[in-house]
């Protein structure tokens, strides 16, 4: 497997606070990594480290060439008091490629159209972002990430505060992007059940396990009980693994 990002004994944190110490993590092309942990445990810190936005205070983070990261930040933090249209927001992803003083080319517009099509919101291009539902807004942010034609899709809590149907739709879209388009994905969530059947690698933000990368077959009820600090039954029901 081709390596994309690799942490070698990396220390990550903000100011005086160290969130990860001696982190060893390798993400290969086509991987699906889920980072699970409670709010404030450092999930976004790790995502920022993966994208190279946060440099390690010690150790190394090696990146394969110049990777393009399509980032979907937490929907709740995107300003909604400005009347940007969906099309304008998706086109923002192409800003760096268009360059100063130039207007979007037909190719740029085509990439944006394709991203809107993949995410199923072609009809919303002229709608204003602040008029959309939570699920539609999440699709817009994913479309913006895709418009950059990323090597790596990074999602920060993409299903938080969504209703069940919108959550299912977003999970289906992420699954499609990984399985059919072969995108490498890293996402963070505090909901383990949502992504256990999608992801291939897991990091649990826990004082004893933060530095270990688990595969699906490594997971057991005993291990998850220790990680989450409560009795957990981990079962497979109708082909889907889940915490009961």
């Amino acid at each position: 497997m081709k390596r994309m990002v690799e942490f070698k004994k990396a220390e990550l944190g903000y100011g005086r606070k160290t969130v990860f110490k001696d982190l060893d993590l390798r993400i290969d092309k086509g991987d699906f990594l889920t980072i699970v942990g409670p709010n404030g445990s450092g999930k976004t810190t790790l995502l920022r480290g993966i994208m190279g936005l946060l440099k390690p205070s010690s150790g190394e983070v090696e990146m394969e060439g110049s990777l393009r990261f399509g980032y979907c930040m937490q929907r709740q933090f995107v300003p909604t008091f400005f009347p940007f249209t969906v099309g304008e927001i998706v086109m923002m992803a192409r800003t760096g490629l268009i360059g100063p003083l130039k207007r979007a080319s037909e190719e740029d517009r085509e990439k944006c159209r394709k991203a809107l099509e993949i995410t199923g919101i072609s009809g919303l291009s002229r709608e204003r972002f602040y008029d959309l539902s939570g699920g539609q807004k999440q699709r817009v942010l994913i479309a913006r990430a895709l418009a950059l034609e990323p090597d790596f899709l990074v999602l920060d809590e993409p299903t938080t505060d969504l209703d069940v149907r919108a959550e299912r739709d977003i999970l289906g879209l992420i699954k499609k992007l990984h399985k059919e388009a072969g995108l490498t994905i890293a996402l963070v969530s505090h909901e383990f059940n949502e992504f256990v059947n999608l992801a291939e690698k897991f990091i649990f933000l826990h004082e004893r396990f933060s530095n270990r990368v688990f595969k699906l077959e490594d997971l057991s009820g005993e291990l998850l009980s220790e990680i989450f600090g409560t009795k957990i039954v981990f079962r497979e029901i109708e082909g889907h693994k889940m915490i009961l």
Binding site: Y14, G15, R16, K17, M51, L53, R68, F69, G70, Y71, C72, M73, V78, P79, F81, F82, P83, F84, E88, I89, M92, A93, T95, G96, I98, P100, L101, R128, R144, A145, L148, V154
Partner: protein, 272 residues
């Protein structure tokens, strides 16, 4: 009433105030989008302190104001960890500290006291040709930079983290944006005063954001409100012998209530 602009000095005042108002109202849209409105008032006070230092120390007030504003920009631009000190409290501290220091320096210097009183309310009617040239050159430089990097400024202001992840040099563009705001404020301050500069940064942009449902129209409407507010305020100031800065701010406020009230009323009628 517009006959007052037949006076040569009033034409200079009008052109200078319109350039300042339009530039500030344009930059104010970015300040609202970035949610850094209080940075505007803190930078205005830093510029005022620079003028006070200049007058106190007998050096060029414009140069001192520019240096103080640029120093403040660098401090505000540094991404402090919120756990060390929040950006909001830093702005609050800077505003109070700069304002107090400026008042002390003005009080202890007779020359500064005579000219310094205008730092807060401003008196555009004293604007000369050299002020106009300085303000005009600064505005031309600001708009030239924004013409080149408009898309980058919009992306970084709307969603800095995603812009950074997408390969945009977010820190650099943030700094350039702050720089254009700081230079505009410090060069406008001497002639226009804190109240006029700060209100021009906030009220036209805020009114336009409330009224318009298109980003382009927000920029356009913000500039129109600034022009109408400046002309109205100058006429009122001249006719009733009022300080020009507060008179223009009053005109901006009246336009906000008039336009937003009309929008609310029209919306209510349409719904009924």
């Amino acid at each position: 009433m517009l006959e007052i602009f037949k006076e040569p000095f009033m034409r200079i005042v009008l052109v200078g105030a319109v350039i300042t108002g339009v530039t500030c109202s344009y930059l104010g849209v970015f300040m609202i989008l970035k949610r850094i409105v209080f940075m505007g008032i803190a930078l205005s006070q830093a510029a005022a302190l620079g003028v006070a230092i200049g007058l106190f120390a007998g050096i060029s007030p414009v140069a001192a104001s520019l240096v103080m504003t640029l120093a403040a920009i660098v401090i505000f631009w540094i991404p402090f960890s919120e756990k060390d000190i929040s950006g909001e409290s830093l702005l609050g501290f800077a505003y109070a500290f700069f304002a107090a220091l400026a008042v002390i320096l003005v009080a202890k210097n007779p020359l500064a006291e005579a000219r310094g009183l205008n730092l807060i309310s401003g008196n555009l009617l004293y604007m000369g040709m050299s002020d106009l040239i300085t303000i005009g050159a600064a505005a031309a430089a600001v708009f030239a930079l924004h013409l080149v990097f408009f898309k980058q400024f919009i992306f970084v202001s709307f969603d800095r983290e995603t812009a950074h992840a997408a390969g945009i040099k977010a820190n650099l563009f943030d700094f350039i944006l702050y720089l254009t705001i700081g230079v505009t404020i410090s060069l406008s301050m001497m002639a226009a005063g804190v109240i006029f500069v700060f209100s021009s940064l906030v009220i036209p942009a805020m009114t336009a954001v409330f009224l318009m449902r298109s980003v382009w129209k927000i920029f356009f409407m913000s500039a129109i409100i600034a022009v109408v507010g400046v002309v109205t305020g100058l006429v009122v100031s001249y006719v009733w012998d009022l300080p020009s800065g507060p008179a223009i701010t009053g005109a901006y406020g009246a336009l906000f209530f008039l336009l937003s009230g009309t929008k609310i009323l029209v919306g209510a009628v349409a719904r009924s």
